[in-house]
């Protein structure tokens, strides 16, 4: 468990303290995939670096499994860092070392593993990230996705309990992003390790995270389960991110809504109700006519969801809304 207790960070620039993170308290549970989303400069990169003290905090306490890491000595910190893996946007592999040597590097630094142990662990990790055929290649000979998989294998080498991902998919194409995210989800499930992932893409959060914190200008402005934050965003920044990820042009949407007749409802289906043939039966029972203004069906991590914006005319609206709510559909009246 990672606990932030009034943690803050500021930089001294020309004698003045510039805040990068305002006092923040939050808890990241063991074994969850926690996303931190925000625009560049929002402070998410700083936040994630506080966890392994690549950036020292300037106030508050950071408790990891009940130990305050802000008070660690240099030696304690180095031992602690071996238990925290990290992957990076630009992979940060050593260009002078082969794939196998890159993966072995953290184990060699730790100085507590025998050569045989290192060799067998490297083989195991290479297989885990499907790169066994590339053991003796150099990073420059690999594609971006392969490089990030080496990064992941390297981060896992010393069997960490926490994995920090700093924009790990931002330099990858959509398809490669998919496969890297799938690998991260598998690792989280199979090894039970806590993943803290920062990104500026809500889509990444939607695919793998359990909970998410949205950051804006050095503050966490919204936090909660991904389905909650994603389907019912409260803060303007969060809304921006959600709209962005759904490729919705807000002005266009407003225009469409203005043209529509009658009442406008936004329905959110989650889990099993997503697949039920609900709309037809509700329309028949209540006598309303509906037209779909916009809609989307997708997954949040493993849970299917659907979101439809409808305009309704005629019939008994009350009955229709009751029937929808009875079927566990979240109904929001837009107009």
């Amino acid at each position: 468990m990672i606990v932030f207790d009034q943690v803050e960070k500021s930089y001294q620039v020309a004698g003045r303290a510039i805040p990068a993170l305002h006092p923040t308290s939050m808890t990241i549970e063991t074994g969850e995939v926690f996303g931190i989303v925000g625009h560049s400069g929002a402070g998410k990169s700083t936040l994630v670096r506080l966890i392994n003290k690549l950036e020292p905090s300037t106030g508050g306490r950071i408790l990891i499994d009940d130990e305050d890491i802000t008070r660690y000595s240099a030696a304690e910190l180095r031992a602690f860092r071996r238990k925290v893996g990290m992957i990076f946007q630009h992979f940060n592999l050593l260009s002078s070392k082969t794939v196998a040597d890159n993966i072995a590097f953290p184990m060699k630094l730790a100085g507590i593993y025998s050569k045989a142990e290192i060799r067998s662990r490297v083989d195991e990790l290479l297989a885990r990230v499907s790169l066994s055929d590339h053991a003796n290649k150099y990073p420059s000979q690999l594609s971006g996705g392969q490089k990030q998989r080496v990064g992941i294998a390297r981060a896992l080498a010393c069997r960490p309990t926490i994995l920090l991902c700093d924009e790990a998919t931002s330099a990858l194409d959509p398809q490669t992003t998919q496969s890297v995210l799938k690998l991260l989800a598998d690792i989280n499930r199979e090894l039970g390790l806590t993943i803290v992932l920062i990104t500026h893409e809500m889509d990444v959060v939607r695919r793998v995270c359990d909970r998410v914190a949205v950051m804006d200008a050095g503050r966490v402005v919204e936090m909660g389960p991904v389905s909650e934050v994603f389907l019912h965003p409260q803060h303007p920044t969060t809304r921006d991110f959600v709209f962005e990820s759904e490729n919705v042009d807000r002005d266009e949407l407003q225009e469409d809504l203005q043209k529509a007749e009658g009442r406008i409802l936004r329905l959110t289906f989650k889990g099993e109700s997503t697949y039920k043939p609900l709309l037809g039966s509700v329309a028949r029972e209540s006598g309303v006519d509906f037209s779909i203004l916009s809609g989307r069906i997708d997954h949040i991590k493993d849970t299917p969801y659907g979101q439809l914006t409808l305009s309704l005319v005629g019939g008994d609206l009350e009955v229709a809304m009751k029937a929808l709510e009875a079927a566990e559909v979240h109904v929001e009246v837009v107009r």
Binding site: L54, R78, A79, R81, F88, K97, K108, L109, S140
Partner: protein
């Protein structure tokens, strides 16, 4: 044919040329060795104590940087003369091959240190950060990540230093340093034996070309980018 050679290169004593070439090789080789041994740690220190680096130490950096600049700003021909008392103290003579080596190192080491500093700065900061995140200490970061990553740049730096030392070594002939430079000055310049001058210059050109080619090969061999 022999007559032609005799009329063109009458003054050339090939045995002398051979010895002088060997002397130049020894001077460059030895001074390069010591320049690297002294310059490499200074370059690493310059890098580490620099702004926003691992061991940021503005005072230490300023002092080191000043000494390096001082040695580099003195023209080598002056450095040769200024160093004479120190060289005598160190090895007993300021003449010959041995006497030339201390001033060559005094000129070569700070030059190489700057090249090392520059090539270390070219190492991606992300790699240092990643190595830190793995729990490496400073020594491990230097030997495990920084130096291996900067190796091609450092080898290129050794090549440039070696070539600079060839010309410095030739210059040391002015104060009786030995080698091809000494030959060029005593025979080519002072006795107007143009043929000796041409031969020594040609040999120096060949020497530099070979060094550069070997250096480039090595850089290529160690480059993984």
């Amino acid at each position: 044919m022999e007559a032609l050679m005799e009329s063109l290169m009458g003054n050339v004593d090939w045995a002398e040329i051979g010895w002088a070439s060997w002397d130049t090789l020894v001077m460059v080789g030895m001074s390069l060795l010591f320049s690297v041994l002294i310059g490499l740690p200074i370059g690493v220190l310059l890098f580490l104590t620099g702004k926003r680096q691992l061991l940021e130490q503005p005072v230490a950096y300023a002092i080191l940087s000043f000494i390096v600049n001082l040695l580099r700003s003195v023209p080598f021909i002056i450095l040769l003369i200024v160093m004479i008392p120190f060289t005598v103290m160190l090895i007993g003579t300021s003449l010959g091959v041995a006497g030339a080596i201390p001033p060559l190192v005094a000129g070569g080491a700070p030059f190489f240190a700057r090249l090392v500093e520059t090539s270390l700065r070219e190492v991606d900061r992300g790699i240092i950060e990643a190595t830190q995140a793995m729990g490496a200490n400073v020594r491990q970061i230097i030997f495990g990540a920084l130096l291996p990553e900067a190796l091609p740049g450092i080898i290129a730096g050794i090549t440039v230093t070696a070539i600079t030392l060839v010309s410095y070594a030739a210059m040391s002939g002015v104060i009786g340093g030995g080698g091809l430079g000494d030959l060029a000055i005593r025979f080519g310049y002072q006795r107007f034996q143009t043929d000796v001058m041409v031969i020594t210059v040609a040999l120096l050109v060949i020497f530099v070309q070979v060094l550069q080619m070997a250096g480039d090969r090595l850089v290529l061999y160690f480059s993984r980018k």
